[in-house]
Symmetry: C2
Subunit: 390 residues, 2 copies
């Protein structure tokens, strides 16, 4: 087991009607004037935005708003938010939405108090040392951004989708999680969220660091809980408990405990980010295609941990040949994704002729020569994985 630091100061307030505590929590964490960030009109139509506004007003906290954040959010909206926040002397960011909205709010939070271009943080030329505090009202369980100091933004000029990883500075002060808000999610959004949160666990599970059984067991437990809840939700979309299990699982998946004590991988995420950036597909759907392809490649090159995944998560019986066990596990994962109507190939994702050369070259441009850790992937390996995803 490697040494590590684990900290997660976010106050998670979970349960029915908890959005009514937005004002109280914003005040508790020092907010005097808030910028509410949201995405599409759904939060207006559902009445959620009005309930958040009412809660802020009830706590005497004025606010302004920035709507229209798109999936795979871009730097344009961040620049707009930074200008707005400066003009109105905002001191607290409130994200009402899913990962795209939260990540945009975080980028604004860091950019407002920085004299240079906020993209410097994403380009990796300077670390984030201060930021406005961020609060979250989560509507889509998927990204885990409600629990992390991370943010993913796409630079429109050149379509570079970059993941920024910070520690406590961008971790939300509070995250309000009401599973009722997720009851009306479409089965497509739900399924994409499931693939994303499962991938957050798998990126941490596949490691060469030995002797971290506790973290393995936690990963396996979260994956099993997600699978069980997913199979309920897909036919019973209004099941509160299953929705609640999915929502909290998405947080546990990304809070850090599934990764401590070892090297993580993240290659599938990096590969998928290129697919999303070029073809603007939903991140979770892209992962449902890329992660099984990555795993299939690993059954040949590094099958041991994939075999453990097969046995413990999918109850694949022990076999002398661990490659066969591993392959059976990957097939279980694919079948599971198919059963919740996710694509598992480029063509099912609507990309009949992926420009793999472009994806590979953009990946290495963004992330360097070698990708991931479980096996460090050169451009030839990445090419093979993209081919396996066809």
């Amino acid at each position: 087991m490697n040494g590590f630091v684990f900290q997660s100061a976010t106050e998670f307030v979970f349960g029915r009607e908890t959005e009514g505590k937005t004002g109280e929590l914003t005040a508790k964490y020092g907010g005097n004037k808030a910028l509410i960030v949201y995405g599409k009109g759904h939060v207006i139509a559902s009445g959620l935005l009005a309930r958040v506004e009412k809660s802020l007003t009830g706590s005497g906290i004025p606010y302004i708003e920035l709507g229209g954040v798109e999936p795979n959010p871009t730097d344009h909206k961040v620049y707009e938010g930074i200008r707005l926040a400066r003009t109105h002397q905002i001191d607290f960011m409130i994200a009402v939405g899913g990962g795209s909205v939260i990540d945009t709010a975080k980028a604004i939070a860091a950019g407002v108090v920085y004299a240079g271009d906020f993209w410097d943080f994403y380009a990796g030329t300077i670390p984030v040392v201060e930021a406005l505090p961020v609060g979250v009202v989560l509507t889509i369980p998927a990204s885990g951004s409600e629990a992390s100091g991370n943010s993913v933004i796409t630079k429109s000029d050149g379509l570079h989708k970059i993941s920024l990883r910070t520690g406590e500075v961008l971790r939300p002060r509070f995250s309000i999680m009401n599973p009722e808000l997720t009851l009306s999610l479409s089965s497509w959004q739900t399924a994409c969220g499931i693939a994303d949160m499962m991938s957050h666990v798998m990126e941490r599970y596949f490691t060469n660091t030995l002797g971290v059984e506790i973290t393995d067991r936690l990963c396996e437990g979260v994956l099993k809980a997600i699978i069980d809840a997913a199979l309920v939700v897909i036919s019973d979309t209004g099941n509160y408990d299953a929705r609640a299990n999915l929502m909290w699982s998405g947080t546990v998946a990304h809070i850090g405990i599934c990764g401590v004590g070892r090297e993580e991988d993240w290659a599938s995420h990096f590969l998928e980010h290129e697919v999303s950036a070029v073809y603007n597909v939903t991140h979770g759907a892209g992962l449902a295609v890329i992660q099984p392809a990555w795993l299939t490649w690993m059954t040949v090159h590094q099958p041991e941990k994939v075999a453990q995944f097969a046995a413990r998560v999918w109850d694949v019986p022990e076999k002398r040949d661990h490659r066969l066990m591993a392959l059976e596990g990957v097939q279980c994962l694919k079948n599971f994704f198919k059963s919740i109507n996710l694509p598992t190939t480029f063509s099912e994702l609507g990309i009949d002729h992926p420009d793999i050369d472009l994806l590979v070259s953009k990946l290495h441009e963004d992330k360097g020569d070698l990708i991931g850790n479980y096996v460090k992937l050169d451009s030839r390996a990445v090419h093979e994985i993209f081919e396996l995803a066809k």
Copy 2:
């Protein structure tokens, strides 16, 4: 799934030689003058105390010391610490030890800034609203106190062992966890710690709240990791990775994620606290006796969750009769405790003729008429459980 709040702001710094960061972390969390609390001379003999002192000195932080905290710590030491801290105008508490030392440091931290008698907090007449910050250098994985806002102190006058549960106010600011410090623990201390951390999971696992699969899965994963590491450590006491797994498992067991979303039980802890208070046995050893007796009683009165525990943690095959499955699971737990040389009966604990009437009456005096939640235990039920522990 019930609504809940989850927050754990403690910075856990885990790995080899991490005690060298005590000074840096104390400064980071605002300490200017520290009171170091410790127990027996082992921390002196091992050189740990000297390394902590050197780290504080290196960061320019003066300190005084209070040694001699005993297992099942009493109010006497707390009063002594409060006087000392006031005299020397201490603003930061550093606990170097296990649960008894940490719990004493927390009690002092709350008592120093309170004009009344600190026992008011434990008597439940007033909540803790402020306290000095506490930092921890953990030497015995067991209590989970390094991750919680809880503290257990025994009032010498009358031998009332009382558990205080607070939220963030007494949660350590940092906890330094170096598994090397646990390599020299005796197999008895190690085994008692294992029983304690397993009980912390089981107290949260046995609940009537349905639909909290994610929390069940995490509990089962932690228990499996503890069992696997325990079976290594018992024959290979110097195994760093197994020690590291035990140490982190003890924290995960008590950080809160094993309990969120449902009613917890804690009857076994309350029963054991009376045994510890009257007979001054080691808490973990007492739990190894009480928890299986409690479970055995449940196989008759509420077997369902015990059967799930048997199947998922101990791989007991599915049976039509869940009582039989449950009993087999309890037997597995007892056999496991025996395999690491823990007692599983009062007589093995060295108490040949327990005064059960006294234990029952003290329990209800401290905790009211009904104990626990999985089944609410009246005095007759408690009597039966103590009898089963004979």
